[in-house]
Symmetry: C2
Subunit: 324 residues, 2 copies
Amino acid sequence: MPNIIAVDAMGGDHAPKAIVQGAALAVAELKVQILLVGRQDEIEKELAEANAPSGAISILHAADVIDNNEAPTFAIRRKKESSLIKGLNAVKEGQASAFVSAGSTGAILAASTLIIGRAEGIERPALGVLLPNRKGFTFLVDCGANVDCKPTYLAQFAQMGSTYMNSTMGIKNPKVGLVNIGVEQEKGNALVKEAYGLIQTRAEQTGLNFIGNVEAREIPLGAVDVAVCDAFIGNIILKYTEGLAKGLMGIIKDELMADPISKTGALLAKGAFKRVKKNFDYEAVGGAPFLGLKNPVIKAHGSSGATAICSAIRQSVLFMANQT
Amino acid sequence: MPNIIAVDAMGGDHAPKAIVQGAALAVAELKVQILLVGRQDEIEKELAEANAPSGAISILHAADVIDNNEAPTFAIRRKKESSLIKGLNAVKEGQASAFVSAGSTGAILAASTLIIGRAEGIERPALGVLLPNRKGFTFLVDCGANVDCKPTYLAQFAQMGSTYMNSTMGIKNPKVGLVNIGVEQEKGNALVKEAYGLIQTRAEQTGLNFIGNVEAREIPLGAVDVAVCDAFIGNIILKYTEGLAKGLMGIIKDELMADPISKTGALLAKGAFKRVKKNFDYEAVGGAPFLGLKNPVIKAHGSSGATAICSAIRQSVLFMANQT
């Protein structure tokens, strides 16, 4: 079977235009077939505008759309004709091998778990995100699925994160750290104290490269390839990164504009600041994978443009090719 | 009774020299008397070198020192002759009104709770820290005392944080937010969901200015004056701020050095970068207060120099003057 990626044409702030354009970019770049799921007439209109190569893109009509404001479990029970549910069913039934959506994280998680199902040995699927660090990327797991975790979940996140970084991202023997408030084994809250032992046991059994606790301050410096935490912590780290980078860049801007010499310097250094910004560009990174499902499911950023959608599709192809 | 501040002369990386020098700065600047607690001979030697004004500084001899590597509860039981225990006893017995130490956070917390005792209606003392934001400071409570919290603790942190920002820092009607992964009331883990209702009830009863949940990304932008969370989250935010600022400044430096024009720009903008760095200078902010004790206790940064110790003493004077 060729690689067919089901793509939710209706999810995200700029759907369906950006999604269809992103799919067109992806088929031009990658040897991949795409099944766009959503309202047929709207998709056809956008396809005509996007000048997509014919043959590589097909459409699966879905009349309904689940939006971000709906309660996930309620929405997926009621909206059987939504692009999310129909797209995931296409994967379940073998019409496609992976699914990409820029829609509601909660709805994608709930529907994927229900329809595609969990991989063997996994209690809870988790969302991983690649955070830029000083040397490359840290894979932060979980950052969006499980806000209340049991220690066993964290041990599974450690394993899934390591496998993803190794197989999909090509990092050999990735360093895995448990996010904690100190490096000593006895540090932390009840959850991480128990998780530590479980991950250590797993490391002895499977060769997982567990380096122990990692303090939050070491993450941006690139101390680990995989940072393991519950989704409450993960989401706070993710959002805080965004806010702090913005806040810090704001402070820098204010100070650069505060005296004429610095102002001149800032003008000259414009190129450097552009490159710094690129480091934090999620469009190039692509989507965030849900780990622990039977098939690859990628969550693209809600405000994805065409480039970000194309990156997410690329990510799903890599994920798929290397899933064991 | 005049203001007498007991200062742990033996706590911190640069004790006793930096502590004694900081005390000398404080008595010169503030109308305050200081009781230096620690090894008499070492303190006398440093006092002679520091050229401290005579009369305002006295010494309480303590032969022992508790260091950072000792288990707090064990150390405070065994080392009755330590500067920490003797200093806190001086406060308990009325010889001093407040206590400042750059020693082990865990030991200070455990010993303060035991010796000075909790204020009425407080189940757990908490550590607050002033984090620089885009507009000024956010008071982050708890960031170092309680890694496993009950919802009632968080409600008390909200109240104590608000009182501190109002009375000690002079912020009228401070905005209090509960750190969460979304702004809607139903968001979050079990702990914050329950805490939300408790803080809201308290707001109705006491006039606390509770603005609801605050997302981590809004904290560096100055959305709230008080950010309430458990110490696991608080410590991660605190340490992550340090790491991310360092990581980001590193990336900026690399990019500025990557081409000759940017490099020239960076040279011209040197003044601006110095001012940015000053924004993150903990030496000027002073110490972190323990809230919810019967007397003010201030934790100074472990690597405090004389200026930071002086700032922490200033902080304790403000705290003391405004404690209700």
